[in-house]
């Protein structure tokens, strides 16, 4: 089978991942705006989709890190990239199914690292890049967002805390259109670039580009479109978790959380860190909540999110490694990626059909 066919399967899979990333992470961008009633859900989701698209064009530093800073690009083949992507998609959909916010970014990197390790051994992994560009920022990001949002809301309350609450609430609701927009823009900047980096890596692995080339424009546009489409379709289950189950917020807290989250993601994007937007906004929401009253945060739900953070990298790496074994068994140059792609699509259709049946049965039982 033509190796270009495998490459196009990888590109299509990467864009599918980008779509699920937008779908999964819609909550990050819009949860606080919806929770404080600053925006209607559909308006917030539409704005997030448009700004995710625009944000994808702002910077390419993160794409460079994903393509060249985590695995040795010369040792990577399109089949490895494909297996990593399937690992990430499988983990993303599993956490979406159970309504758990996890990290699409760490799922992607975990899947890629797992597949590269199984295929080429430890030599394929740039350990220093993985530690400095992924693992350390993964630890720092949520804590940083928590501290920044906490300091921001305390400063805001010091300035406006003694004013009449009605006008303050209205003013911060208006402000949340700006802060929510900034967060969506930041999300597009950091997250769409991960897919660009993966497609870029696949093009290098397939011999279509050299590591010194820039990211092609068609890659930037297609990644931007895929994440925007995924964001628009949205994820109501995770929005519910993020918007109401972590903490009830006032608009000032929502503003502080979104502005702080956007600040963390923008500054990390400029440095080339592929951050998890989920980690950042979760930390910021907790910081804005805990600064007002520690008991206002539902720490049990926050604990579940932390467990998902801890599991994401190793779980996606395991799935990525296992998928590579299956692909290698069937043939890395053709049959393997085709069969695994078809199997994934069939599994998804079966799972969604079953879910629809269960939903209909529950609705009928409710009417009976």
């Amino acid at each position: 089978m033509d190796s270009d066919v495998v490459l196009w399967i990888v590109v299509a899979t990467a864009l599918a991942f980008d779509f699920t990333n937008g779908f999964h992470d819609t909550a990050n961008a819009v949860a606080t705006s919806i929770s404080t009633r600053a925006m209607q859900p559909r308006t917030a989701v539409t704005m997030a989709a448009v700004l995710n698209f625009v944000g994808a064009f702002i910077s390419l530093e993160v794409a460079a890190t994903v393509a060249k800073g985590i695995v040795e690009a010369e040792l990577i083949t399109p089949a490895i990239v494909f297996a990593g992507l399937i690992g990430a998609i499988a983990w993303n959909l599993t956490t979406w199914w159970f309504g758990l916010p996890s990290s699409s970014s760490h799922a992607l990197i975990g899947g890629l690292v797992g597949a590269a390790f199984v295929a080429e051994g430890a030599d394929a992994i740039i350990v220093s890049g993985l530690v400095e560009s992924v693992m350390l920022p993964a630890l720092v990001a949520p804590v940083l967002a928590l501290v920044v949002a906490g300091a921001a809301i305390l400063a805001a309350y010091a300035l406006v805390g003694r004013l009449r609450p009605g006008p303050v609430t209205r003013a911060f609701r208006h402000g949340q259109i700006l802060s929510g927009g900034l967060f969506s823009l930041a999300h597009g900047t950091n997250d769409a670039q991960k897919t660009m980096g993966i497609i870029f890596l696949a093009l290098i692995a397939g011999g279509n580009l050299s590591a010194d080339d820039g990211v092609p424009t068609w890659v930037v546009i297609s990644a931007a479109l895929a994440i925007a489409a995924g964001t628009y379709v949205g994820g109501a289950r995770i929005i519910k978790t993020m918007a109401t189950r972590i903490i009830k917020m006032d608009p000032a807290q929502g503003f502080a959380a979104q502005a702080s989250g956007a600040a963390v993601i923008f500054s990390a994007s400029a440095a080339g860190f592929p951050l998890s937007t989920t980690h950042v906004i979760s930390g910021a929401i907790m910081g804005a909540g805990a600064a007002k009253r520690a008991s206002a945060v539902r720490w049990g739900v926050a604990g579940n999110i932390v467990v998902a953070w801890i599991l994401t990298l190793p779980a996606a790496a395991l799935v990525g490694g296992a998928v590579y074994e299956i692909v290698a068994l069937l043939g890395t140059d053709g049959l393997g990626p085709v069969v695994v792609s078809i199997a994934l699509v069939v599994t998804l259709i079966a799972a969604f059909s079953r879910r629809a049946q269960i939903g209909r049965a529950a609705a009928e039982a409710g009417h009976a």
Binding site: A151, I153, L185, A259, A263, F273
Partner: protein, 78 residues
């Protein structure tokens, strides 16, 4: 050759820039809210000069927020 886009120095820079930008934008927006509400209250109490001063604070702070956002985006895009 391994190309690392980021290192520990960059991470420290991210920490300080995030703190400055996140807290800064929220504080300046809060000043805009404070100015706007105080300005309205002063106008109701017929204290024109105070109303003008608070209104000026609201205007400058609003411009400050927009300028900070614009400057931040320019730095990242640049």
């Amino acid at each position: 050759m391994t190309i690392l886009a980021a290192d520990l120095g960059s991470l420290v820079q991210v920490v300080f820039v995030s703190l400055g930008a996140g807290v800064g934008v929220t504080v300046v927006y809060s000043l805009a809210v404070l100015g706007a509400i105080r300005s309205t209250d002063s106008r109701r109490e017929r204290r024109r000069r105070m109303s003008l001063a608070w209104g000026l604070l609201a205007l400058v702070a609003t411009i400050g927020v927009l300028a900070a956002v614009g400057a931040g985006l320019r730095v990242i895009a640049g």
